[in-house]
């Protein structure tokens, strides 16, 4: 195919400026990709938390058996609760030792078991968003023997809004940079059009159609866009693979949040398609402005 050969030759012939535009497209998409990945991650953590949302009712250390029974009945009465588990002081201590082995010494120094007994009520997925759940918690909290309540509803809601914020920031910053790379593609194609002005003139005189003249430029723009977005996906992959290793264990529980997840396949395909589309758009704008046929 003449178009493909011509586009390929021209991409190689002006490789300097083409490489520059691929780099800029790549960086723009990389920034967008990092924020999408971060947003994916936050959403994933929020989803995991909300799927197994637990309300912990901490009880007084000297709670009576009768109170225990009343509290349990009260909790089980709620339609939002799917499972109730009683954790006694010893179980709570064991759990802490298992989850935080580094802090064992502090516990040993205390000499006593500081953990109160508790009821852990697992809620139905999604039910935590309802305000009814707050009324239910308040009701149980007022029962004798219940000292405190731990409910991470706000945390999950904050994580979810943080995920949305990350996505919005990503689209905003990425959008600006993608717009910049659109202008860069447009200008690179414009330079290529100028460099090949004599050839375009000859093509017109030997009876080339507008499509015939434009297609190689369009292919060039699309190729630049696709190469840039592919390169950004590659870099994002490397970043995600090595960034957590670089941070090491210093982040503790936060590691799960910054240990980025890669983009979903549909997101990756969308990013490549966006690159191709931007390349095509950049070329077309340049061709319509600078290639009056």
């Amino acid at each position: 195919m003449y178009f493909l050969r011509d586009a390929q030759n021209n991409l190689w012939q002006y490789r300097g400026r083409n490489a520059l535009s691929v780099t800029i497209i790549c960086l723009s998409f990389l920034i967008l990709g990092v924020f999408i990945s971060l947003s994916n991650n936050l959403r994933h953590v929020a989803d995991e938390m909300s799927d197994s949302m637990v309300v912990v009712f901490f009880l007084a250390p000297n709670v009576t058996a009768a109170d225990l029974s009343t509290i349990e009945q009260k909790i089980r009465a709620s339609p939002s609760v799917v499972r109730v588990e009683y954790v006694d002081r010893q179980q709570a201590l064991e759990r802490f030792r298992k989850n935080f082995p580094d802090l064992r010494e502090i516990l040993a120094n205390l000499g006593t078991n500081p953990f109160p007994p508790s009821f852990e009520a697992t809620l139905q997925p999604g039910s935590f968003r309802s305000d009814d759940i707050l009324g239910f918690i308040e009701e149980v909290k007022n029962v004798t023997g219940v000292e405190d309540v731990q409910f991470n509803r706000d945390w999950v809601l904050k994580l979810q809004s943080l995920s949305r914020l990350a996505r919005a920031v990503g689209f905003f910053l990425g959008g600006i940079l993608i717009l910049a790379s659109f202008f860069i593609i447009s200008n690179v194609i414009r330079l290529n059009v100028f460099a090949r002005k004599s050839e375009i003139e000859i093509l017109r005189l030997v009876g080339a159609t507008n499509t015939f003249i434009r297609l190689p430029f369009l292919l060039e723009g699309v190729t630049l866009g696709i190469l840039g977005s592919l390169l950004s996906l590659g870099l994002l992959f490397v970043l995600i693979k090595f960034f957590p290793l670089y941070l090491g264990h210093s982040l503790g529980a936060l590691q799960d949040i910054v240990g980025f997840r890669y983009l979903s396949s549909s997101q990756a395909v969308s990013l490549i398609a966006a690159g191709a589309f931007m390349g095509a758009l950049g070329s077309m704008s340049s061709l319509s402005r600078f290639l009056k046929i």
Partner: protein
């Protein structure tokens, strides 16, 4: 074949380049348009291949009024023509082969046939041995021959040439005119602009004399000479 009716052309500066030109070129004709510099020869050619539009008049080519052709249909007209420019108009970043092949690529001819046709066209102008060189490595005369090969490679119905032998020595000029004659014998209508009196005297069949944009004479030699 080509009918020009009352063609006049006024440039933006107000100067008239052509005034009331009437000409009827028949299929298979071999015309010379001659006259001093600024007589309107090149303007007339540009109007025929619709690079510029006349201020007045009409042109009919093969029954089609080309002035009424919409811009997006001009390519069809150009595909029937081969054009040799005074300034060659070569793509200097492409090799001789690609320069000549460009018109065939436009027509979508397969590469195998393109190679054969380009080779034959270059052989016609005796440049086949420089097929893989860049035009910048060629002499002026050779560049002109590349332009001629490009114009004839798709065996056009009409061949327009603006001073095609301007940079060639008399021997080579005669050789190139021989090429044009050969193409003409195959049925192509040829119109050549030239002010080379010697060349016209030797090769001219039908001659149009222009002076300051006006026709000052037409000469049609007897068919025996042709």
């Amino acid at each position: 074949m080509i009918e020009l009716y009352h063609i006049s052309k006024q440039y933006e500066e107000g100067q008239w380049a052509l005034v009331d030109i009437n000409l009827n070129v028949l299929k298979g004709d071999f015309w010379f348009i001659t006259g001093p510099s600024g007589s309107g020869k090149s303007t007339l050619l540009k109007i025929i291949f619709r690079e510029i539009l006349p201020t007045r008049g009409q042109i009919v080519i093969d029954g089609v009024n080309i002035l009424r052709l919409p811009d997006h249909r001009i390519y069809k007209l150009r595909r029937t023509m081969g054009i040799v420019f005074q300034d060659f108009r070569l793509a200097f970043h492409k090799k001789v082969f690609e320069n000549v092949a460009i018109g065939l690529h436009v027509l979508g001819i397969p590469l195998k046939e393109v190679r054969l046709r380009v080779f034959n066209a270059l052989r016609l102008v005796n440049l086949h041995q420089k097929m893989w060189e860049y035009p910048s490595h060629l002499s002026y005369g050779e560049q002109q021959r590349v332009a001629i090969a490009r114009a004839v490679v798709n065996e056009p119905q009409i061949l327009l040439a603006d001073e095609p032998t301007g940079n060639l020595d008399p021997e080579l000029a005669a050789e190139i005119m021989g090429v044009f004659k050969e193409i003409n014998k195959r049925g192509t209508t040829v119109i050549i602009c030239s002010h080379d009196k010697e060349l016209i005297r030797h090769f001219g069949d039908k001659i149009l004399f222009l002076f300051k944009g006006k026709i000052i004479g037409k000469e049609v030699l007897p068919s025996s000479r042709r």
